[in-house]
């Protein structure tokens, strides 16, 4: 296949794609795409390792592979030296299988006792494993998070995990591109989570299928690295293959000094290269969607898909199709009613969407000097050991505990509810995670997605509430 003429303007995605092509796609076969970093966790990898064993082949690049334990691991607080107690022998076996596989193949593992352990998409960036210009994959759909650094990062299935383990490559057809341009400035009290929920509500749950989204515009540039990760994280909830944000000085200063990031002169050289990682001004996207950030408000979901979302003070929309009607019936909400004041049973602050230090600070600001409404359960689950340590160093754990919340060990926890942390049937959970699918947080559990501020405010009020009122009172808005 002829390569594109040199002068054709390219998107950031095109540049990342072109730089990783081992062999280009043809009519008959997909491209062979090289993977710079392969992140691995216990749930989607055992059958992939077994596939390698069945063929008697080794892991090609254990040095480009990095593993952690996050999904099946308990988050119940333990005393030092106390062993974790799993929800089931199967969960324990899954973790032990990954430990064994990593030992056997020489793959670095942030396991129990490692200060690096964390939710895979929190850990990668904070260690500086995630860098601009890379291709990054993981057997996990929220791998899109790493796109916040200008890396092409996407989720793959277990068979493909096996492909990458064995060959460091993937077969891929080139996806289409979509630009989401966000003008204006987010109003006070409205954050990255609200922005991405608004974007998904606009595009729809499958609206970006087959596309890689590049987020751009003043409102995106103004986001912190943490905010950018929150936005890219949820790209998959619009069906996108990946999300991307061009790296800039915010990105570079965030990376500087991180354990696996280049150091000294190598960092300066990398910074020069990374600066070229942006879409050319004339580059064309297959689709462009625009949004005005200044019109947004704190967002909550009213249904059972992340795109069923609106401003916290909205009236629940009349269902426009059978799915919306079914979702409303499941949630127990009536069209036309306001969600403000809707009683809440559990609040979950955690997940790779919103369990970084800045998220915990945002929630703590609301919790400080207040108390969780009696009868409401609140779980705060830091995204990693590092987040936990940093939060404890600045006393956030004490704020949450004093307020009556549970301060947990790091992990995915109630985001996926496979480690024993879950809601009870019928409960309404306000959650900072990324999916409100029916039963995601336990059979029959009804989930409302929201920002850390909105979730914390719900814990205090015992009901869905506009967090800006509590922010004003603490002078944060």
């Amino acid at each position: 296949m002829a390569s594109a003429p040199q002068n054709k303007p390219r998107t950031l995605f095109d540049k990342l794609w072109d730089a990783h092509i081992v062999s280009p796609e043809t009519a008959d076969s997909p491209a062979i795409l090289y993977v710079d970093l392969h992140l691995v966790h216990e749930v989607t990898s055992p059958q992939a390792f077994s596939a390698l064993e069945a063929r008697g082949i080794p892991v090609r690049r254990p040095d480009r592979t990095f593993a952690t334990l996050d999904h099946s691991t308990p988050t119940t607080p333990r005393r030092k030296g106390q062993r974790p107690v799993y929800i089931s022998p199967a969960a324990q076996m899954q973790v032990e299988r990954l430990e064994e596989n990593c030992r056997h193949h020489g793959i670095p593992l942030a396991g129990w006792g490692s200060p690096d352990r964390g939710i895979v998409h929190v850990m990668g960036p904070e260690l500086g494993l995630t860098q601009p210009g890379m291709t990054i994959v993981c057997g996990d759909s929220h791998t899109s998070t790493h796109g916040a650094f200008g890396a092409l990062a996407f989720g793959i299935g277990t068979t493909e995990v096996g492909h990458v383990l064995a060959t460091q490559c993937l077969l891929q057809r080139k996806p289409k591109t979509m630009k989401v341009h966000v003008d204006g400035r987010l109003p006070n009290g409205v954050g990255a989570k609200d922005l991405i929920l608004a974007i998904i509500a606009k595009i729809g749950a499958g609206g970006a299928a087959g596309h890689v989204i590049e987020y751009a515009g003043p409102a995106i540039e103004a986001l912190s690295m943490e905010g950018r990760m929150t936005v890219c994280n949820m790209s998959i909830e619009a069906g996108a293959r990946a999300g991307l944000i061009a790296p800039d000085e915010v990105t570079f200063s965030w990376l500087q000094g991180r354990e696996y990031a280049p150091k000294g002169a190598a960092f300066e050289a990398a910074r020069l290269k990374w600066r070229a990682l942006r879409s050319d001004p004339e580059a064309e996207f297959d689709r462009v969607v625009t949004l005005d950030a200044s019109r947004l408000a704190p967002m909550v979901t009213w249904g059972a898909s992340p795109h069923m979302a609106g401003p916290v003070d909205m009236s629940v929309p009349a269902p426009n199709d059978g799915d919306a009607a079914k979702a409303l019936a499941f949630m127990g909400f009536q069209p036309g009613e306001t969600l403000l004041g809707e009683p809440v049973h559990t609040v979950f602050i955690g997940s790779c969407t919103n369990a970084r230090l800045s998220d915990l600070r945002e929630a703590a600001l609301i919790m400080a000097g207040r108390h969780v409404k009696p009868g409401v359960r609140m779980l705060v689950v830091p995204g990693s050991e590092r987040v936990r340590k940093a939060a404890e160093a600045e006393g956030l754990d004490a704020i949450f505990r004093t307020a009556g919340a549970e301060w947990r060990e790091p992990g995915c926890s109630m985001c996926i509810a496979m480690n024993g942390d879950s809601g009870r049937p019928g409960e309404l959970v306000v959650s900072t995670s990324n999916r409100n699918f029916a039963g995601r947080q336990g059979p029959g559990v009804r989930t409302v997605l929201a920002s850390p501020a909105t979730a914390a405010a719900a814990a205090v009020a015992g009901a869905i509430t506009d967090p800006r009122r509590m922010m004003e009172m603490c002078g944060a808005a």
């Binding site: 099946s72 899954q94 068979t159 492909h163 460091q168 499958g206």
Partner: protein, 191 residues
């Protein structure tokens, strides 16, 4: 590794009309602790089919005879959400051999193809016509990429490489492994 080649699937159908059926519905996360394959049939659509105490619900899925009905007609954006390959594994273990939908999630599609499960994305109008004919026999043909039932006929496209893999029962790993030298040259060029 060799699988049964798939050239056509002729079977009766059953429908799940909901849109945006995510992989958490197809297989709830609490069943993801498996480390082997082949045992997820009971977990497939678990919370649609069973109460918390394990007793069956009155759900059409519990009346599907997968000896005779192996084609699932699913609503739009089927298999969105989590990348778990356990979703196509569970559908396969339950007895599904083809999914016909207006549109399927990207990762789900790739996972299905890697497991011999055919996903045919067809025109919404034709899909609606097939759903009208739920329970009737459908033929999904990989030779000419068509779906036929009675006088309803639709075409679909399949990624050509995935199609060959399905039709020949090959898996893709062998293909990439055969390109090791090219991969090594790429690595040498970059470092």
């Amino acid at each position: 590794m060799q699988r049964e080649p798939v050239r056509q699937i002729v079977s009766r159908s059953f429908a799940l009309r909901e849109h945006n059926i995510d992989t958490d519905q197809i297989i709830p996360a609490r069943f993801l602790t498996v480390t082997e394959r082949g045992s997820l049939g009971d977990a497939c659509f678990r919370d649609w089919r069973f109460h918390a105490d394990g007793s069956p619900k009155d759900h059409p899925l519990n009346r599907v005879d997968t000896q005779t009905h192996t084609i699932l007609l699913a609503g739009d954006n089927f298999g969105c959400g989590s990348s778990r390959e356990h979703a196509p594994w569970a559908l396969w273990d339950f007895g599904v051999r083809a999914v016909i939908t207006p549109r399927a999630g990207d990762i789900f599609k790739a996972n299905a193809a890697n497991n011999g499960l055919v996903v045919a994305e067809i025109d919404p109008a034709a899909h609606a016509a097939l759903v009208e004919r739920e329970d009737e026999e459908i033929r999904v043909d990989l030779e000419d990429l068509s779906v036929t039932s009675g006088n309803v006929r639709a075409s679909f496209s399949l990624e050509p490489f995935a199609r060959v893999c399905l039709m020949e029962g090959n898996d893709a790993l062998g293909y990439i492994l055969a390109r090791q030298e090219e991969i090594a040259r790429f690595e040498a060029r970059r470092t």
